[in-house]
């Protein structure tokens, strides 16, 4: 069913009460507790929609963008569309297992809501999995290890629809990546609220590509939550490719939880988006863990991208490496806040954080806020943040060799971006990202190569 919330910022609580019974029924009461808890926190004023007077949102006044009306689907639409007809993936040669959400609901284009890969990974709809054999796992992890007090998580939980569910059983080592497509496709202004869960069992290994796209040039709000649980000695690689049009609001919350000897590498690449806020939290709750958190965003015109990250070293002997880069053109703005927390007993933590940004015009703006909180005394932590222009000496050197200014600029920007992308281990994904970034920088990519919409 399609329902409309008027003036979201003021109307979302009333709207919640209106649709609650219907939505909670569709979602098999999976989120009832957290949803009701979130609603009452907003009602009592304990929680507020993010606005700029809140320290964590001072560069992104999200509330300001929530004044309009939105349409919400309380149940999946009946459209029978194959992903290949609706959406042509811009990652050629990618041999991947693909699943798709459309407007927050699972899209079983082949009639299957839960599948198993040859290598043994179970993937599909979270709601379906909950009803069909995976209740225990989902109960163990869903909405655990994340901050339900975050306004974006609370908002997601109130309106949680379906989401991706991926379970990598113990000892399964998979080479074929799983491609998750989170698609917004509506002729009205919709808001969607998917809630996904990835659980990687002991000694397992898996790779993921999450693509976020929109089909129609209507404004929309995508407030998603992704939980990644990495159990002992599991190894996860996760690339998120955000490529929605400039009228979109994309708020994402990614919560990573790691136990002993696990490694998680995330790459958050934002090619396009109107207002983007990514909250990425890694909770390192084990020894011998490694977390690599990479991010890259390219913004122009009036776009705004804000990456807010927290790496929480809860135990000793683990390492993290964080690298975020931004290229800001025209009058766009970017923001980065990176907190590294090393708790009291987290000795021998090795944490490194780097944030580098290039402003291409004098109107472009970048806010950066590195933040180290260290309560252990035997650790190695470093951080560095830079905001600068293109290097004139490098440009001149290249032009002196006959390379045009345009080409030289492009080569330098690509090199700057490459740093973030180079460690993606799935070659087709890496090459596609390199290609998309190149096109994006040269102005050939409006939103997506195959897209009809010119943003």
């Amino acid at each position: 069913m399609k329902k409309k919330v008027e003036k979201f910022e003021k109307g979302f609580l009333t709207f919640f009460n209106d649709i609650k019974n219907e939505l909670q029924q569709t979602t098999h009461h999976l989120y009832d507790d957290v949803a009701n808890e979130a609603a009452s926190a907003f009602e009592t004023g304990k929680l507020q929609l993010p606005h700029k007077k809140m320290e964590d949102y001072k560069y992104s006044d999200l509330k300001k963008h929530l004044k309009s009306d939105f349409v919400f689907y309380t149940a999946p639409e009946k459209a029978k569309v194959y992903p290949k007809d609706l959406f042509v993936c811009d990652v050629p040669d990618l041999d991947a297992e693909t699943v798709m959400l459309i407007n927050g609901w699972f899209h079983d284009y082949d009639g299957k809501k839960l599948k198993t890969t040859d290598e043994g990974i179970v993937y599909g709809s979270l709601l379906y999995a909950y009803e069909n054999g995976y209740k225990e796992i989902i109960d163990a992890y869903l909405n655990k290890h994340l901050n339900t007090g975050s306004p974006l998580v609370a908002l997601n939980n109130m309106f949680a629809q379906d989401g991706f569910f991926v379970y990598v059983p113990d000892n399964v080592v998979a080479q074929t990546p799983i491609q998750l497509i989170n698609l917004v496709s509506a002729l009205e202004e919709v808001f969607v609220s998917p809630h996904s869960l990835i659980v990687a069992g002991k000694n397992s290994q898996a790779k993921f590509l999450l693509c976020e796209h929109s089909i129609f040039p209507k404004y929309f709000l995508n407030n998603s939550v992704m939980q990644i649980i990495a159990l002992e000695n599991s190894h996860i690689e996760y690339v998120r490719l955000q490529n929605a049009h400039n009228e979109s609001y994309q708020f994402t919350s990614t919560y990573i939880h790691q136990t002993d000897n696990s490694s998680v590498k995330t790459n958050t690449i934002t090619l396009h988006g109107g207002v983007v806020r990514n909250n990425i939290v890694a909770s390192i709750d084990g020894k011998g863990c490694y977390n690599e958190m990479y991010g890259l965003f390219l913004v122009d015109k009036g776009q705004h991208v804000d990456n807010w990250t927290l790496i929480d070293h809860k135990q000793a002997e683990s390492s993290s490496k964080e690298l975020f880069k931004g290229i800001i053109d025209d009058y766009a703005t970017g923001a980065f806040a990176g907190k590294i927390l090393v708790r009291k007993d987290s000795q021998h933590t090795d944490a490194e954080q780097t944030n580098k940004n290039i402003l291409l015009t004098s109107d472009a703006k970048m806010y950066t806020k590195p933040q180290l909180e260290i309560y252990a005394d035997d650790v190695v932590c470093s951080h560095g943040a830079t905001v600068g222009q293109m290097n004139e000496d490098e440009l001149f050197y290249m032009r002196q060799r006959g390379i045009s200014q345009k080409t030289a600029r492009l080569m330098l920007l690509n090199a700057f971006a490459y740093d973030v992308i180079k460690d993606i281990s799935v070659e087709p994904v890496k090459n596609a990202v390199i290609n998309l970034v190149e096109k994006r920088l040269s102005g050939d990519l409006t939103r997506c190569d195959k897209c009809e919409i010119k943003c």
């Binding site: 004139e392 290249m398 002196q400 060799r401 390379i403 045009s404 030289a408 690509n414 740093d419």
Partner: protein, 252 residues
């Protein structure tokens, strides 16, 4: 009589409002090797920067012609394509841009300018290897970023190598000898000498006579306080070596 290549007439240039070049006149004909010597701060590197079009310098008077064309109206890349090459005193490191991509972009820009087709990958590799051999550059370039992690000597060799690749009409060597030990100096000078031809000219900017033992100039100029104060044959370099720059400073 050989053809006129470069003509600099009454050139005045400043940076940040400070006049550095105060009326330079210099003519370089095809096939000639000119040495420009002078004490620190006399304007040698500024002259190289102004000829190649480095942003930040303002020409307030005079002109520079290259085969009769007004260089000052051309952006740096066009001057390079017209055949002017600068071996930088301090070659910049460009992290993330591989030598191969860099060379490919430069070579293709030149070929396009000359109306030629791009080289095939195999052709290009062969061409690069050949040029590496010519200048005795054994560095493996395939996966290295431009000048990144190169030693001082390697950087200078890399400049001469690029010169061999781009085959310019006029090469300006800006203090190519600085920071080089005698072996590296010999390699660099050999590279330059192999590239000497009746159509190619060089401007060798140096502080010391040492390099000129290996690259023997036709004409030596002394630049002092933004002006060329003395021009003579190669014997001038030796005289300067013997007497030192104090001798010049006393006279002017």
């Amino acid at each position: 009589m050989s053809n006129k290549m470069l003509e600099i007439k009454n050139l005045h240039a400043e940076i940040n409002g400070k006049e550095i070049l105060k009326g330079i006149d210099l003519t370089v004909n095809e096939g000639e090797v000119h040495a420009i010597m002078g004490p620190n701060g006399s304007g040698k590197s500024t002259l190289a920067a102004v000829i190649t079009g480095k942003p930040g310098y303002e020409v307030t008077k005079g002109e520079i012609l290259f085969y009769g064309k007004n260089l000052l109206e051309m952006p740096p890349e066009e001057r390079a394509l017209a055949g002017i090459f600068l071996s930088f005193q301090y070659p910049v490191e460009i992290p993330g841009v591989t030598m191969m991509n860099f060379l490919k972009a430069a070579v293709n820009a030149k070929r396009k300018y000359e109306g030629k087709e791009e080289m095939s990958a195999a052709e290009f590799l062969r061409f690069i290897r050949e040029k590496q051999k010519l200048v005795e550059m054994d560095t493996n370039l395939t996966n290295r970023a431009v000048n990144e992690g190169f030693s001082g000597g390697e950087k200078k060799k890399n400049e001469i190598f690029q010169m061999a690749v781009l085959e310019p009409k006029l090469a300006i060597l800006d203090e190519t000898d600085s920071g080089l030990d005698i072996d590296a100096l010999r390699v660099v000078a050999n590279g330059v000498n192999k590239l000497r031809s009746p159509e190619r000219s060089f401007i060798v900017i140096t502080h010391y006579q040492r390099l000129l033992d290996y690259i023997v100039p036709d004409i030596v100029h002394i630049l002092y306080k933004g002006k060329i104060v003395k021009t003579a044959g190669k014997e001038l370099a030796l005289e300067l070596e013997e007497k030192g720059y104090g001798w010049i400073k006393e006279q002017f």
